[in-house]
Amino acid sequence: MAGRLDSFTLIRAGLLIDGRGGPPLERAAVLVRGSSILAVGPEHEIAAPESAHAQTLDFSDRTVMPGMVDCHTHHNGFGDGRAGDDLAALSDETLTLQSARNARASLFTGVTTIRENGPKNATMLRLRDAVRQGVTVGPRMVLCGRPVSIIGGHMSYFGSVVTGPVEGRAMVRQLVKEGADYIKITATGGSTRTSYPLLPSFDVDELTAIAGEARKFGLLTAAHCTSTQGIVNSLDAGVDMIIHCIFREPDGRFDFKDDVADRLAERGAFVNPTLHVLRSRIWAALRNHGEAALTTAARRRMDEDERAFETAIEHTRRLIERGANVITGSDSSWGDYPLGNAVYETECLLMAGMPAMDAVMSVTSKAAKAIGVDETVGSIEPGKEADLIAVEGNPVENLDALWAVTDVMADGRLVERGSQESISATRQLRPASS
C-alpha cells in the first residue's frame, strides 16, 4: 500500500448527497487521497494539489453519495425461503462460500459496509480473514461472531448458547477473543423451531450481564425482539439497538405501546424494524403460486403475512413520529430476502412515512452511527474513508435511483464489479401483481 498516499482521485459529481442531511449540492467534487476523503465542495473549489498525479472520475451526469450501510445482514443465507434450522445444517465451508458470494452481491450493489447479525460458527470471521488476505472481496464488515442465545433459543444452532449471567459474560469474552465487533443477542424466540417468538428468552439479569460485559470492551449490543416483553427487557439491560421491534403480546395480539416507544426514543436506542423481510414472504408466495389459485391454508398464511407487514409499517410510522432512531437493516439473506437488495428495506421506511432525505440517511450516515462506524464511514466528509457510490438519478426525489448504481468506490478504489448481467441476476423481482 506504500505510495498510495500520493495518489489522488478527483471525482466530479453532477449532484452530491453527502449523507449529512443538508440539501444536495449541484456540480460538486470530491477529492480522494489514498483511501480517504481529503476535500469536498463545489466543483470550482476542489482541485488536486498542483504537481500531484490525479486520476479524474467524471460522474457529472450522476449523483455521488456515501456507500450504503446495511445494519442487518445474514451472509450465510440464501434468501430462498429455507429455514435457519436447515441453513445451519450446511458445512462451515459451504456457508463461507455462500457468504463470499453474498458479500460480493452486497458490495457490487453499492453496500460498502455491513453489520452481520447471525452467521454460524466462525464463518464470517474467516471470510473477513480471506478478504484481508486478498482471496476475495467484500464490504467493510462489522461482525458479531455468532448471536448469543438461550438453550434452544433463536439461532442457538449457530453456536453460542449460554445460561446465566456468568456464562453470558464468558461468551462475550470468547467472542471478543475471536474478533467480534459487537454483540448480537436473541432476546426473544424467533423462526427457530425450538424457540418461542412471542416469549422472552433471556432474563434481564442475563441480558444485563451480556450488555455490561460488551460495554466494558467498548462494544455495542443489539437484540432480536419479536415480542414486547423482549423489547422491555432489552431496554432495561441497556441494549443499544432493538431489532425487529415487534409490539406483540404472548397471545399473538399486536399492541403498540406508546410508553415503550417513548423509552426507546428517550434512550436514543436505534430501531431496525426489518419490514421488507416480511413483504418478501408475501412476494415469494405470489411468485410460487403464479396465476394458480391459493389453497385455503396458503391464503390464510398470506393474509396473516399481509396483516403482519401492514401492522409493522404502521408501528414503524408511530415509532418515527415519536422520535425513535429508525434505520435501514435489511435482514437479508434471511427468509425469502436475498442480499443485494437492501434498497427494498429503505423503500419500506419511506412507506412508513420517513422523509426522503432521512431515508437516504437511514442507509448511510445514521446507519453508520447506529453500528458505531460513523467516524470512518457513512458520509462524504474530509477525513472519512472514501466509500462512495455513483447512481443515475436523484435518490431523494426517487429512491429507485439506488437501484441504478453505476460505480462503487471502497477505500478509495473503484470496485471491479464484473458484468451487468451478473449483477442484475442478484435482484429480487417485485411480483407483477403487487
Partner: protein, 423 residues
C-alpha cells in the same frame, strides 16, 4: 445451469479442432443440444433439426476446440511462492474460498476440467458441493481430496498419513467414501520440509495396495515421483499416471533408464511432466529484472534453470519419441505458479518447447488428458454425445500454440460462460 434438451446452439468457426489429433476442419460447425454435442464437422454437414429453436454463434476468424483439461492443479494454492507447509496452516474456510477463486479464474481462462492433485482435508470436496448448490462456478472437478502420504512425507500435512498395506487400503476406502474421483499418492519426497527429497516414500507393497484398492473401487491412481526409484516402484505397483517423472538419482544427478521408459510405454502409464512450474518463476524474475536489480540468489536461480533446461527438454523429447504419453497438467497454484490467466496455456506451450507439434500439445491438453483422468467418455474431444465443453480462441493454435491465450468464449455444459460474472 446446464443447457436443456431441445435447446440447440449452432457454433460456426473458421476452424474446428476436434481434439483427436486429426487435422483442423476449415469452416467447421458444432451443434449442441442441451449440455451435449449433437453433431460436428464441416459447416455444410451440420444442421439443426427442421423447425428447432436454435441460438447461433459465428466466429469468423476463430478456432473452436474442446475445453482444455488441466490434469494437475492445486486449487487451494495461492501461487505467491509460499511453501505448502505454510499454506496448510490456513483455516479450511479460507482455503475453500481460495479454491473457489482459482476454480473460477481457471474456468474463465478456458479450462473446463481440472484434476486436483491434492488439497487439505475436505476443502475441494466442499467446493464441489457448493458448485452443485449453485453457490459458485468452477470447471468440471476431478478430485483426489487429500493425497496419501507416508508419515512426514510430501503433502502429509493435508491430512492422510498411512503406513503399511492395511492402512493404505483403509485410506483409499475413506477417500472413496468421501466420493473422490481418483487417488493421489506421493511416492517420493518433495518440497514438504519433513520429506526426503530424491528418495522414494512408500514401499512397493504399500503402493500396490493403494492402486489395487483404487482400481477395485473404480478409481484411477496418480503418483508424485521425483526420482527414478519411485517411478519404478509406482509403475511396478500398476500406477495410471506418473507425475513430475524426471529420472533422477538420490544425489540429484540425471541418468536415463531406457528399460524404465520401456515399462512405462508397455503398461500405458501416462506421464504428467509439469514442465512450466520451474520456468514460471524464471519468467517472473525476468519480468522483475526489467525494472529492478535481481538479488544474487534470484540471478542464480535463472542461470541454473537455463543450464538445466536443455537437458530437461532433451529428456522429455526422448521420452516422447520413445512413445511415452505425456499429458499436460500445470501444477498451479503451487509455489509461484498462479491458476487462471494464461497459466495452463504456458504449460501447453512448454510441451511445444520440448518438441511436440502444436497439435500434439493440444491433444495432450484435451483428449489425452481426458484419458489419463478416466473421463474420456464424457469430455476431451468434440464428438457427438460428449459434454458440450468448448473453447473458442482467435487465430489458429495448430500453427501458433499461443493462440490458445486469445480466449473469446468458453462453453461448458452447453452454456456460454459469463466470464464477467464476479458475483
Amino acid at each position: 445451469m446446464a443447457g436443456r434438451d431441445g435447446d440447440f446452439k449452432l457454433i460456426r468457426a473458421a476452424r474446428l479442432i476436434d481434439g483427436s489429433g486429426a487435422p483442423p476442419i476449415e469452416r467447421g460447425a458444432v451443434l449442441l443440444e442441451g449440455g451435449r454435442i449433437r453433431a460436428s464437422g464441416p459447416e455444410e454437414t451440420v444442421a439443426p433439426p427442421e423447425g428447432a429453436r436454435v441460438k447461433e454463434f459465428s466466429y469468423d476468424s476463430h478456432t473452436a476446440l474442446p475445453g482444455l483439461i488441466d490434469s494437475h492443479v492445486h486449487l487451494i494454492g495461492i501461487g505467491d511462492g509460499r511453501a505448502g507447509d505454510e499454506l496448510t496452516t490456513l483455516p479450511d474456510e479460507v482455503l475453500t474460498l481460495q479454491a473457489a477463486r482459482n476454480a473460477r479464474a481457471h474456468l474463465y481462462s478456458g479450462v473446463t476440467t481440472v484434476r486436483d492433485c491434492g488439497a487439505k482435508n475436505r476443502t475441494t470436496l466442499e467446493l464441489r458441493q457448493a458448485v452443485q448448490m449453485g453457490i459458485t462456478v468452477a470447471p468440471r472437478l476431478v478430485l483426489a481430496g487429500r493425497p496419501i502420504a507416508i508419515i512426514g512425507g510430501h503433502l502429509s500435512y493435508f491430512g492422510i498419513q498411512a503406513t503399511g498395506p492395511t492402512e493404505c487400503v483403509a485410506a483409499v476406502r475413506q477417500l472413496v467414501k468421501e466420493n473422490v474421483d481418483f487417488i493421489k499418492i506421493t511416492a517420493s519426497g518433495g518440497s514438504t520440509r519433513t520429506s526426503v527429497r530424491g528418495r522414494p516414500s512408500f514401499d512397493v507393497d504399500e503402493l500396490t495396495a493403494i492402486v489395487n484398492e483404487a482400481h477395485k473401487l473404480g478409481r484411477h491412481a496418480a503418483a508424485h515421483c521425483t526420482d527414478s526409484q519411485s517411478i519404478a516402484n509406482a509403475v511396478e505397483a500398476g500406477i495410471d499416471t506418473v507425475i513430475h517423472g524426471r529420472y533422477a538419482e538420490p544425489d540429484g544427478s540425471h541418468k536415463y533408464r531406457p528399460e524404465l521408459t520401456e515399462r512405462i510405454v508397455e503398461r500405458g502409464v501416462f506421464v504428467n511432466p509439469t514442465l512450466h512450474q520451474a520456468r514460471e518463476r524464471v519468467w517472473q524474475l525476468e519480468r522483475k529484472a526489467e525494472s529492478e536489480m535481481l538479488s544474487e540468489d534470484e540471478q542464480d536461480l535463472i542461470d541454473q534453470f537455463y543450464q538445466g533446461w536443455e537437458s530437461a527438454a532433451a529428456f522429455w523429447g526422448r521420452m516422447k519419441d520413445e512413445g511415452v504419453k505425456l499429458v499436460a497438467g500445470s501444477d498451479a497454484s503451487w509455489q509461484h505458479y498462479k491458476l487462471g490467466g494464461t497459466s495452463f496455456q504456458d504449460e501447453i506451450t512448454a510441451h511445444v518447447d520440448i518438441g511436440m507439434t502444436p497439435m500434439e500439445a493440444i491433444v495432450s491438453a484435451t483428449s489425452d488428458a481426458a484419458r489419463s483422468c478416466w473421463i474420456d467418455d464424457e469430455v476431451g474431444s468434440i464428438e457427438p454425445g460428449k459434454k458440450a465443453d468448448l473453447l473458442v480462441v482467435e487465430g489458429d493454435p495448430s500453427h501458433d500454440i499461443r493462440a490458445l491465450t486469445s480466449v473469446t468464449d468458453v462453453f461448458m455444459d452447453g452454456e456460454r460462460v459469463d466470464r464477467g460474472n464476479l458475483v
